[in-house]
């Protein structure tokens, strides 16, 4: 039986989840990663995606739009810019974010153009996953 670790998901406005998880899937900026107990310490940025924590055999899924995560040997903390339980997400919520990201993409030039384009693509992929 593998051990568990402390998992916390917080957004600036509230704390969404806290508990002992056996694994946490994190949509890292450079790719998805799964944190398990005794994971090497990492701090990673987040791209828009789904955070899935396995708590007591059940999966808790949350949609995050960005932020970052800190993983230590004892636990994983996700600090999301915006987070909602997957069940509470409406297509309007994502459409708004996509529209905002597209606006940002049109306004950006040069070095930031790639980043903004990636954000639009990430958000659209996320919409497709739901």
């Amino acid at each position: 039986m593998p051990g568990t670790m402390q998992f916390d998901l917080v957004s600036p406005e509230r704390s969404l989840a806290s508990g002992q998880a056996s694994s946490v899937l994190i949509p890292g900026a450079d790719g998805d990663m799964v944190a398990m107990p005794d994971h090497a310490p990492v701090v990673t940025g987040l791209r828009p995606g789904i955070v899935a924590a396995e708590i007591d055999g059940g999966m808790l899924e949350f949609v995050v739009t960005g932020g970052f995560a800190q993983i230590t040997t004892e636990g994983a903390t996700v600090l999301a810019d915006e987070a909602l339980p997957k069940a509470e997400i409406t297509s309007g919520f994502l459409d708004e974010r996509i529209a905002a990201a597209k606006e940002g993409q049109e306004a950006s030039t040069g070095a930031t153009a790639d980043e903004t384009a990636k954000r639009v693509a990430d958000l659209e992929t996320l919409k497709g996953m739901l």
Binding site: D8, V10, S11, P12, E13, R14, S15, G28, A29, D30, A40, P41, V42, V43, T44, G45, F68, Q70, T72, T77, L79, D81, E82
Partner: protein, 286 residues
């Protein structure tokens, strides 16, 4: 000597004022509870954020981004003064303004430039006369019913935009920290360059993408987080201040009603006595 009718009108007017202040006090009490809940819900994020940033800052020795290390000068300051949109909240706004004014005066005396960004119109009104020409901007939250992180992000991006444009070197925020209903303490907090206490925890983290990129992402967010926390503290303080101000007003109105009622009764008695004297002396004259 006011007439009986005048006194009656005054008593009625004070009574209706008391009703209004009583209602405002109750409304403030309800809003205060909500504001306090919002402030405590936001605390875990702020605490964890600080912990991550502290770990990160410990690893950055010399150099590092300007948001952390500063521009190397402290000639121009930006004072972000956060006050309320509504009045009738006792000394809430004045105490913040007083602190900001003291700092602005010190800066001007030292030959430095002070720029003022106001959040909330009450502070703006109070600062306008003396420091109106130092204003660089204003954030209007009149339409905002409930302060969200998005509001803080808007203010932060405004501040960061000015910083990137080289408009100032140091930024401070002014707000009231909520201690209790009767005590709100005005605070000044430096947000740029960020003041981070390096943690003692020696855990070495891997950073993805790189630590510079993460730091560049985190520092602006730190500004927004601090502003958000200040807005929430301010919100709770405002309601607390209003609650005790309205409580005082209600009590004062009650005292005034008592005084006026006594005066009213005495005047009535005097009128009656007068009439009696007139009748009696009239009867005696016959």
């Amino acid at each position: 000597m006011p007439s009986l009718k005048d006194l009656k009108t005054r008593i009625d007017s004070v009574k209706s004022t008391r009703k209004i202040t009583q209602a405002m006090q109750m409304v403030a009490a309800a809003k205060l509870r909500r504001a306090e809940e919002a402030a405590s819900a936001a605390r875990p994020y702020a605490e964890r954020f600080e912990a991550v940033l502290a770990g990160l800052a410990a690893g950055i020795g010399e150099g590092g981004p300007k948001l952390l290390k500063g521009t190397g000068s402290d000639q121009t300051w930006l004072l972000v003064v956060m006050t309320s949109e509504r009045g009738l909240c006792g000394g809430f706004n004045s105490s913040i303004v007083r602190l900001a004014k003291a700092q602005a005066k010190k800066l001007v005396d030292d030959g430095k430039t002070a720029k003022i960004l106001t959040v909330g119109k009450k502070g703006r009104e109070q600062l306008r006369r003396e420091y109106g020409d130092h204003f660089v901007g204003h954030v209007d939250l009149t339409e905002v019913k409930r302060v969200g992180y998005a509001n803080a992000q808007d203010i932060a991006s405004d501040v960061l935009g000015r910083f990137d444009a080289g408009e100032f070197d140091v930024a401070m925020i002014y707000f009231n920290k909520f201690e209790s209903v009767i005590s709100q303490v005005p605070q000044e907090l430096q947000i740029i360059p960020a003041r981070i206490e390096a943690s003692e925890d020696a855990t070495v983290f891997d950073y993805e993408p790189g630590d510079d990129e993460i730091l560049a992402e985190l520092l602006p967010r730190g500004v927004a987080t601090q502003i958000f926390a200040a807005l929430l503290e301010n919100g709770a303080s405002e309601q607390g201040a209003r609650m005790s101000a309205m409580d005082n007003a209600t009590r004062n109105a009650g005292e005034m009603i008592d005084k006026l009622t006594i005066q009213f009764n005495r005047t009535r008695q005097a009128v009656i006595t007068n009439e009696l004297i007139e009748i009696i002396s009239g009867a005696e004259a016959l």
